[in-house]
Every structure is written in structure tokens, then in C-alpha cells.
Point group: C2
Chain length 118, copies 2
């Protein structure tokens, strides 16, 4: 169920490389990668640490909790969508990938994932 | 000089609230806010901490250094553009602000800011 939803996001996004549904401790619930060479779990665990920093910062600033985070580095772009206080969905794509399509698919996948997580 | 460039980015972006040019220690070189009620320096200092975490993570993952980071929280969206290993430019806009225009103006302002910083 989770795998299908994650695969749909990765395969539906031009340049999509991998996706992971993960808790804020960095433990993956489910993941999907186009290629086995791509270690999405390691990346997701790193970003869960960042995510917690971001949430602390936005909360302390009374800006409200973080909802979406996008990080563009030289080699990959990672989109993170916060599902609730426990889980997030991350999508990694190539720098020339379709960023907007990825964001859209993550947003529409969120309610389905939340329903299954509860 | 710096202030003009930052103001152009903030005022040129629909929904732009404030901008800051800051070093990775969280010390502002220059900032511009539409309203005095908006403390961009405090926000920038918070995000410089996050930025360092992100850079460490992306470097350790051999994904290359972070170039652009976007954080959408409930009340504001913050765009961060890494200028070099020492400085970054941050723009905070309202959630319904023109994200794409902000990214574009930050990208085009970067070479001018870098020239003045060197």
C-alpha cells in the first residue's frame, strides 16, 4: 500500500530517483528507488535530523510548523513533505527533474498516506 | 549597495516581507524589511544554524553543497540562496507570495552581491 503510493510519486515525476516514508527518528516505514545504487534510506535519515532542526526553529519563531522543505544541492534536489508530527515523505530527484510535478504528487499522496498511518 | 540589492528582491516579489544577507555565523551584513514589526535578523540567525546542518548533510552524502533551500511553514515561506562558503541570502515571504519570482530575483542578484563581497 505505502510502496504503491511512494512508487507512484517517484515514477510520476520526471527525474524522480527515489522516495521514502519515514518517521522523525529517521526510521523508514517504506521506500522505493528506481535504482538499487541509490541509498534513499541514508539520505532520508540525514534529512530527518535537519527536519527536526527546522521544526524547532519554525516553532520557536512562532512561524508555525514546517510543511514543505526543498533542498537543491549540486547533484540532487530533495523535497520533504511533513505529514504530521511523526512522519514525513521525502522525494529525491535529479537537478533537472520536474520539481513542480513532484510537489504536486506529494501533496495529493499525503491524505492517502495519512489515512493508512492512522 | 547591499541594501539596494536586498530591497529590490523584497519589493520585486509579490508577498515579499523581508530579506537578509548574512554569514554562516548568523551575523547580518545587511537586511531590509517592509515592516519594522518583522524581525528578519532573528529569522536569518535561526536559519543559518539549519543551513550549516544541511551543508554538513549534503557534503557527507556527497550530494554536493546545498545551493537553494525553501522552507514553507504555516505562516511564512523562507527561501535561502547560498552565495559561497561564507554568505547566504534569505528572503521571507507570505505563504501566498510569488515563490518563483523570489527565486528568480535571488538568483539574478547573487552575482552582484558576490562581486561586492569579494
Amino acid at each position: 500500500m505505502f510502496k504503491d503510493a511512494i512508487r507512484d510519486v517517484v515514477e510520476g515525476t520526471d527525474g524522480g530517483l527515489a522516495g521514502v516514508l519515514m518517521d522523525l527518528e529517521g526510521i523508514a516505514v517504506e521506500s522505493y528507488a528506481k535504482s538499487e545504487a541509490f541509498d534513499i534510506n541514508a539520505i532520508g535519515a540525514e534529512y530527518s535530523v535537519i527536519l527536526k532542526s527546522i521544526q524547532r526553529a519554525t516553532e520557536s519563531l512562532e512561524a508555525g510548523g514546517a510543511r514543505e522543505i526543498a533542498i537543491q544541492s549540486e547533484k540532487v534536489t530533495t523535497l520533504i513533505r511533513v505529514l504530521n508530527g511523526e512522519y514525513f515523505l521525502a522525494l529525491t530527484l535529479s537537478p533537472d527533474g520536474n520539481y513542480g510535478k513532484g510537489r504536486y504528487l506529494m501533496r495529493t499522496a499525503a491524505p492517502k498516506l495519512l489515512e493508512q498511518l492512522s
